[in-house]
Amino acid sequence: MIELEHVVKNFHADKKDSAIHAVNDVSLTINNGEIFGIIGFSGAGKSTLVRCINLLERPDSGNVRIDGVEMTSLKPKELYKARTKIGMIFQQFNLMPSRTVLQNVAYPLKDMTREQIRERVRELLALVDIPDKENAYPSELSGGQKQRVAIARALANDPTILLCDEATSALDPQTTGAILQLLKDLNRKLGLTIVVITHEMEVVKNICRKAAVMDAGKIIETGDVFEIFSSPKHPVTRNFVRTTSNLSKIETLIRDDSPLVRLKPGEVMARLVYVYADVSEPLISYASRAFDLEINIILADVEIVSGAMVGGTVVIFNGERERINRAIQYYRDKNIRVEVIQDAGA
């Protein structure tokens, strides 16, 4: 279990300058075996926060406990030892360019014979699924392969925790998917606790069950990923969710006065957002039949986040005003959030 309590980390750009609060009183608990996401725009303090876990950044105040051990009070030697049990991977992979894959993965291995090291490295490379590259240099590998090697290296000493600092941000979407899948597998196979730092909502949606949203050094929202996505409470989170959703395109369409979104008299354009997990009912076609309306779907974006549906549609209702209102009420009764975007009047 990773427990952060009132962690504060300031940076001083200048002696006279006031401190920059990179991490400002953050408390967070991450349970064993969890894949925990920390999301935020760049500069939110995510990277500093994750470095407070393995003390690459020493907090100015606050407590960092891992499995009950207070990290900030460890002696240097104990800290080095503790760090071998906390793997870390990075956006830029950080493989040593003058060493082969084998030598890179062997870097953290100690007190082992040459043969034992070779065997262990092969085991690790098989685990991350690039068994045939042990004599290649990092410069000969693709981004995805480099990250796999970095993961193998981070796992060399059987850590219980893996910290991922924007680990997929330098990769293309397909490779990102593959690396995330690998992380998910490792989480399941090894019971590894994984902390994922990212500015990409996709990543969190894909592999995290729980997440925290960070802004200006503070955690502004934390909880189940599904909840954060379906009903973001903080404006920054809402903003974040919106930027990743297809539904936000409607604003652009309206601004550009696209013919697609020009309403005829009597029509109403609304955004239907699924907040609760149960949207298996055929809501559009049911409402269309029950209230005798034409419902035109302009945009739809429905995704599966931690096993439940998240998303919504933008629709144009066409029909009698009275019936439109009843349909909207029907949706609201079904716990669907309805936001009227434009109303062409009765």
């Binding site: 240097p76 030697k77 071998t84 870390m88 990075f90 950080n94 003058s98 981070a154 060399a156």
Partner: protein, 225 residues
């Protein structure tokens, strides 16, 4: 032999002296070079790890060393040569000949090499240091297994440049009675206007520099992946 004596009359008459001059230059280069290598490497590393943001950040140590290096780098070598004579006598027992000039050579080249090492190490990606620390490496391990190992190629280049600039310093050292090729060229080539001796000395030095440069480049490239 006849031919050589015709073209290089003065040199051929002083051949044993010429060989000895070559030997002295090599001797100065080897002694001073080895000592400079050790001190420069140590100072370069200290500068790198103690500078703000370094893995063993220490303002005082960094500032003091930084200033001392700047001080010695700004003193022209010819002044250093004479100014350090008392120190040389105290340490080496003499201020002349090869023995007497090692101290000023070391003082002249160490600051230069320290800066070269510092800038070679500065090329190490900060991410590598961070990765090593995250894997539980101690600062000492980071110095040896990351900084030195990963900067091998630029360090070899730094050695090359320093060796060559040291060669220039040994020539100047000839002026205070150190012997060597510089002294040989001045004494005969310049003072007695024996042009052939000047030319041959220059050619030997050019060859020496070329060999060092070529070797350095060869080893640097072998360590670049």
């Amino acid at each position: 032999m006849q031919e050589l004596s015709y073209w290089l009359p003065n040199l051929m008459r002083r051949l044993p002296e010429f060989w000895k001059a070559c030997g002295d230059t090599l001797l100065m280069e080897a002694w001073a070079g080895s000592i400079v290598f050790v001190f420069g490497l140590v100072f370069g590393i200290i500068l790198t790890v103690t500078k703000p943001g370094g893995i063993m950040e220490n303002r005082t140590v960094y500032q003091v060393l930084d200033k001392i290096i700047n001080l010695f780098r700004s003193i022209p070598f010819i002044i250093l040569l004479t100014a350090l004579m008392p120190l040389s006598r105290a340490i080496m027992g003499t201020a002349i000949y090869v023995r007497g000039v090692i101290v000023p050579l070391v003082f002249g080249a160490t600051p230069f090499f320290s800066r070269q090492v510092e800038s070679a190490l500065a090329q190490t990606d900060k991410g590598l240091v961070e990765a090593a620390l995250s894997m539980g490496s101690s600062p000492t391990e980071v110095i040896f297994r990351v900084y030195l190992r990963e900067s091998l190629a630029p360090i070899i280049r730094a050695i090359t440049i320093t060796t060559i600039s040291l060669l220039g310093l040994t020539a100047m050292a000839g002026a205070v009675g150190a012997g060597g090729l510089g002294d040989f060229a001045i004494r005969y080539g310049h003072d007695r206007n024996m042009i052939d001796i000047t030319w041959v000395t220059v050619i030997v030095l050019v060859l020496g520099v070329s060999i060092v440069q070529w070797l350095g480049e060869y080893f640097a490239r072998r360590n670049t992946h």
